[in-house]
Point group: C2
Chain length 329, copies 2
């Protein structure tokens, strides 16, 4: 019989649903799989004396980790937009050291939500692509500049390190592990039993840029603001450069330097964001919204939107506004 | 300042994500709402000495409930298709009595997943419409025949009693409460921060009838089987009645008695289920699938499907098969 040992690492302030969600879903998967040849054990553990105060204030006593694990899962902690990361992470030094040791002994790592900051602190995001809760992706990218942070992704696996998106990506990780150990059919059935969508690929439909803390003033931010004010007008690099008293070449270089994008890329991003707001908060037709964000052609804009969000404007609106109430039995 | 007191009732075998999920999401909502005039407290409590063994085997010490609560939430327990409900519920007599007393003192009740069985045992589903995890809806309906069980619903509120669907409907309940106490905008923002879909209306897209335990042989089940074998053929009541050696009138009466449906209703349900399987597991076009389940006209079938599932066949396929990977930043 093949035995898989997964540890979930509890620590002061970690969120209970993230601490327990992996085990809860994997038990449902095991019940569905009924595979006597494979046993997936989830150990919920903590360092020190094992006493942990969960986010929300409840204390719990967990076992210390013993032996070698196949996967070590780092749940996220409760946080807010005003969190001071250095102070917050300094208190988690023993956990960060344990993560480093586990990885060097061949354990695969997986973080949920802002659990990614512990991996970053352990130096394990350097040179890797990673994600985290979209609301904290900028903080992660600033703090670990040698990592490539993809705020849109729901789950990224890169050279032994899995990172996942915000809170409920706990379940995306659980289904990912269920698929790995029990196969796609069991993972899909587990998802149906738990009312979860299997293989969600993207946090992008959920991102609300208005929730980001105000960024430091920067050249590219000023460019973005200027473009947002003229969102319905055609893109004109020469006019933009003139407005900022630089050559088009300098405009392209400086924006690229700060954002790895072109000004047109910034404009397109702003157009998609504006369209998301209008799709959710108004009853304007997709045609009207297309025009409102400066596109002539609904098909081209639909393509841009789908590329950014993973869904057409119509499907996005259908999915994220109130669902239709189904016919009662 | 308005203070709202919500209690979540822990007990032996309850699922941790359901025990803690409400509080976790409501803390995010409170952080977003920043309303000094309203305070929503979530108390995670247990009866007796407060020692509870959670599903998965971890013990935890919770406080005893004290005072009057606005809402009492009953999480679901770990279970399997082979569960023996009478024995399982007999062990929860103190909790069931406490639920009855709380309701009689004016506390609103809310169950998650199979937590509905505790409400049923307390007599509080009688005369009410309710839901539970779709996989256990038949058990609930059999055990509490004076309740109307709607297996399709994600959340039902009826005269002071909220019931919700399977495991992850924990979060639908949490968002429902966030909306009630903080308003729709805060609930929507909370959903985005946690990557949850707000106001999911239906479990129907997740239901997989092949997972139900085999039902007792019954007249209507035989009728369903006969119809399923001829799913692509036009509905013909006279021919159906003849095959079962009864009059059309008797056919209608007996099926109605057992299922509260017509034979055509059973056939339409079977057609929708078959279409769901084909949408998920084949690449057949919606037109081909429409024909395969016996409909001439894609538009009419699309309407039937949307009425049952809350989504068009195309949107259902898009949402529940692997999502498109969005364009990387």
């Amino acid at each position: 019989m093949k035995k898989i040992r997964i540890a979930v690492l509890g620590y002061h302030g970690c969120m209970p649903t993230q601490l327990f969600g992996i085990a809860d879903v994997l038990r449902i998967a095991a019940d569905i799989a009924q595979t006597p040849d494979i046993q997936v054990q989830v150990h919920t553990v903590a360092l020190g004396d094992g006493e942990v105060n969960l986010a929300g204030g409840i204390g719990i006593k967990l076992k210390r980790p013993r032996g070698q694990f196949d996967v070590l899962v780092i749940p996220g902690m409760e946080t807010s937009r005003a969190v001071r990361w250095p102070a917050r992470l300094a208190r988690l030094t023993p956990e960060i050291n344990y993560i480093q040791q586990a990885f060097s002994r061949g354990t695969q790592l997986a973080s949920i939500c802002v659990g990614a900051f512990l991996l970053g602190e352990a130096g394990l995001l350097d040179g890797r692509t990673a994600t985290t809760a979209w609301l904290f992706a900028r903080n992660l990218a600033e703090r670990y500049p040698h990592s490539r942070i993809n705020a849109d992704a729901m789950l990224v696996e890169d050279s032994g390190v899995i990172t996942t998106g915000a809170v409920s990506s706990t379940f995306d990780l659980a289904l990912h592990l269920a698929q790995r150990y029990y196969g796609a059919a069991v993972a899909a059935t587990t998802a149906r039993a738990a009312l979860l969508q299997h293989q969600r690929a993207s946090q992008a439909p959920f991102i609300d840029v208005s929730m980001y803390a105000p960024a430091e003033p920067s050249f590219s931010l000023s460019v973005s603001r200027w473009l947002e004010k003229r969102i319905a007008e055609p893109y004109d690099l020469a006019r933009l450069a003139q407005a900022f008293h630089v050559s088009p070449r300098t405009m392209l270089r400086r924006v690229k330097q700060e954002t790895a994008e072109t000004p047109l890329g910034l404009l397109q991003r702003a157009r998609v964001e504006k369209a998301k707001q209008l799709l959710l908060k108004t009853n304007l037709s997709v045609g009207r919204i297309t025009a409102a964000v400066g596109y002539q052609d609904q098909v081209s804009f639909g393509r841009l939107f789908a590329q950014a969000i993973g869904n057409t404007p119509t499907a996005f609106r259908r999915q994220f506004r109130t669902m239709q109430i189904p016919h009662a039995r």
